[in-house]
């Protein structure tokens, strides 16, 4: 029952947001509903971490296809966590004077719809329904990407919609072929579990075709190279809290759908799903690592880092899920929380300097110590510096890779991760500590002293602190209940 409430809450919030009350009403409703969802999701995740599958308890219509196991619960939890911090960050970030009330309303209504569509992905257990909600995530977030209404934002939104939907059409073909494969294997319930059960009898051609179409189709939306071209555009043009959602959890949720196919492929004889995952993953990591060196826009930088991390997760799956299963799950968690923090940091910097150009930002530390500290912390966190969360998960993936005797792949992965580290930190270092041209002239110094320091809104600072906590804590301590959930999730992957 609580699963239904989780899905209903964002929809109710969408309706409430549209009521014409005071300016803060919409923001308040959104924060409230996000926090309520978080509490409910935490309970479901708690149940799932004990190994039980949570269903809606009703067998009518689409509700009978609701089932939450360990893996779903983990993704659900991430969406709820990032959804809440992003909602809190939005309050301050969107409180700009120049924004019309109607625009603000549109933002929060879309925000809640987007949260709804994402929450529905892990909750649904029927593949075609999952496909539909994946489509919905694209459609609900398209207007958020276009929110700023500039030429660039519209271009990004258009690219995002066209490429994602093109991928989705291919994935739809894949899911229909998968259904046919299931029928050919004697039928059964068309759910993730039913697929695993039927996999050994499926005609290999149908299964392979379906897998490849879905991998390419949804891989487009997850930002895998070479289908990633829309991602840095969309993930940099959207308002920062939305970027945190897009980069932090949307891509992860899409990757989750792809991951669901791996147990199916493993149950079928002679499938080479792991090889595909490893190759595609390594290509993504490598390309993103080198592109990170030459970005000019710091939000694009974090977007490319998302491509890199999607590659790492996929490569980890390819390295051998039995050993890397737990590491993969850890990586998914650490990437989501760290990347959302990074975009909050980028948003804080953007509020202070009002430009996204890396070259135009120098000596940020003197203008806004908070934004600078956040950028450095985010940069170190996302590139895997110890003792933060990503370090721990990347370390366990590399260790698992070595124990699987995949020396070449592991070495490549390690090299790309190091290159990405230098790429990101180089840019952040210049932004934070760099010396502005002509800054030493007396006139320039006078001018900079005259500038009043812009203060970050309280809610932005609060969101930064809340988002930083798990990044820091999960680097050296994973609570027992989360550990159980990760184990359950890894178990669902290697079923």
């Amino acid at each position: 029952m609580s699963v239904i409430v989780i899905l209903l809450l964002p929809l109710v919030a969408t309706a409430l947001v549209c009521l014409p009350f005071k300016r803060n009403w919409a923001a308040g409703v959104t924060v409230g509903s996000s926090l309520a969802v978080l509490v409910l999701v935490a309970r479901v995740a708690w149940l799932a971490s004990a190994g039980s599958s949570v269903t809606a308890g009703l067998k009518v219509g689409m509700l009978k296809w609701i089932a939450v196991d360990g893996l779903s619960a983990l993704i659900l939890l991430l969406i709820a966590v990032v959804g809440s911090t992003a909602a809190i960050f939005s309050v301050g970030y969107m409180a700009r004077e120049d924004l019309e009330p109607r625009k603000l309303l549109l933002y929060y209504a879309n925000y809640n719809l987007f949260i709804f569509s994402m929450l529905a992905i892990p909750v649904m257990a029927e593949p075609t329904l999952v496909w539909i909600v994946v489509e919905l995530t694209t459609l609900c977030s398209a207007l958020l990407v276009a929110f700023e209404n500039t030429r660039e934002a519209l271009e990004a939104a258009w690219k995002y919609v066209v490429l994602s939907l093109m991928g989705a059409a291919m994935a739809l073909f894949g899911f229909l072929v998968l259904f046919a494969a299931m029928q050919a294997a004697g039928g059964g319930e068309y759910t993730w579990d039913g697929l695993v059960a039927a996999a050994p009898l499926m005609p290999p051609v149908l299964l392979q075709t379906a897998f490849l179409m879905i991998l390419i189709g949804l891989g487009t939306k997850a930002g895998l190279v070479p289908m990633h071209t829309w991602l840095p555009d969309a993930h940099s043009q959207a308002p920062s809290p939305v970027c945190a959602l897009l980069s932090g959890v949307e891509t992860t949720a899409i990757l989750y759908v792809i991951l669901r196919l791996f147990p199916v492929m493993k149950a079928a004889p002679h499938s080479h799903a792991e090889v595909w995952a490893l190759v595609l993953g390594l290509i993504s990591v490598g390309t993103a690592a080198f592109l990170l060196l030459q970005v000019r826009d710091y939000k694009r930088m974090f977007a490319f880092s998302t491509v890199e991390h999607m590659g790492i997760i996929l490569a980890a799956v390819g390295l051998g899920a039995s050993a890397a299963g737990y590491g993969t799950m850890q990586q998914i968690v650490s990437h989501s929380i760290t990347k959302s923090f990074c975009f909050f940091a980028a948003g804080a910097a953007l509020l202070t300097v009002e430009t996204r150009e890396i070259a135009a930002v120098r000596g940020l530390i003197r203008k806004s110590p908070i934004a600078s500290a956040a950028l450095i912390f985010g940069g170190l966190g996302i590139t895997g510096a110890p003792p933060l969360a990503v370090f721990l998960s990347e370390f366990s993936i590399l260790k698992a890779g070595l124990s699987q005797r995949q020396y070449l792949a592991t070495a490549l992965l390690a090299i790309f991760i190091v290159i990405a580290f230098f790429g990101v930190m180089l840019h952040i270092n210049r932004m934070v500590f760099g010396v502005e041209e002509g800054e030493h002239g007396p006139a320039a110094q006078e001018q900079s002293r005259g500038q009043k320091e812009k203060k970050l809104p309280f809610s932005c600072r609060l969101a930064l602190i809340l988002a930083a906590l798990p990044v820091f804590v999960l680097g050296f301590y994973i609570p027992k209940s989360l550990q159980d959930l990760l184990t359950q999730a890894a178990g669902a992957l290697s079923k």
Binding site: L136, E152, E155, W158, M166
Partner: protein
């Protein structure tokens, strides 16, 4: 049903599927945007006809449902939604500068159709004899030709139609090989298609307002290379 009726229904279905392929070619080549939309409507009707014929052939009420959903949503609601959301100007436009000229496009489209045949054959061989038919290779061809339309077109509406053609192609295969899909799911997919049209219509209107064009394919300012100032920015 008797053997001859079945034969007749199979032949009629093959005819519908063949015409479906022809409309996909037409959409690749058609320059008038209104014409593109009309061809898409014909194509959706052919998809519905194929679903109805297959439903009759295999006594599946579920396929009648699919046919009905297709008849209502695509030929009626899609054009209406487009007219509501996107600027009226898009219909009157003729697309002159395509990435490739029409003969070249058609040749590539032909190659794609042949490729689809080769891709479809192994699939056909592994489904039961009941599920075989021309729908599979032609559906794949629809998917590929839709994707091709997306790559060569620049105007908003033909791009949208390219997406919908891809979806039609996937469905044409679907009604043949996975025809027992729950109707609820089909309905949800159809609704989803309408949301696509709505969102893209809204985006098109916004693009036209801010960039002064509906040729969304020509927008290309976001990239890693140093930005060149466009005439717009210079005057700003």
């Amino acid at each position: 049903m008797s053997e001859t009726t079945n034969q007749l229904l199979d032949n009629l279905n093959a005819l519908a599927a063949g015409l479906f392929l022809l409309t996909a070619f037409g959409i690749v080549a058609m320059r008038q945007i209104r014409g593109c939309l009309n061809l898409f409507i014909v194509q959706s009707l052919l998809l519905a006809a194929s679903a109805a014929l297959l439903g009759l052939r295999h006594q599946s009420e579920h396929l009648y449902g699919v046919a009905l959903v297709n008849v209502i949503s695509k030929p009626v609601i899609v054009p209406w939604l487009l007219a509501k959301t996107s600027p009226a100007e898009v219909y009157t436009r003729r697309e002159i500068d395509q990435a490739l000229n029409i003969p070249t496009s058609l040749l590539i489209a032909l190659a794609l159709a042949i490729l689809a045949y080769f891709l479809g054959t192994p699939l056909l061989n592994s489904v039961g004899p009941d599920f075989r038919g021309p729908n599979v290779p032609i559906g794949i061809a629809g998917l590929l030709l839709g994707a091709f339309t997306l790559t060569v077109r620049r105007e908003a509406v033909p791009l949208l139609i390219g997406l919908l053609v891809m979806e039609n192609g996937a469905f044409l295969t679907g009604i043949s090989i996975s025809r027992n899909l729950p109707l609820l799911v089909e309905l949800a997919i159809a609704t989803d298609g309408l949301i696509i049209v709505f969102i893209m219509g809204v985006l098109t209107r916004a693009v036209q307002k801010h960039a002064g064009t509906t040729a969304v394919g020509t927008l290309a300012s976001l990239k890693e290379a140093a930005p060149e100032p466009t005439p717009n920015e210079v005057t700003k």
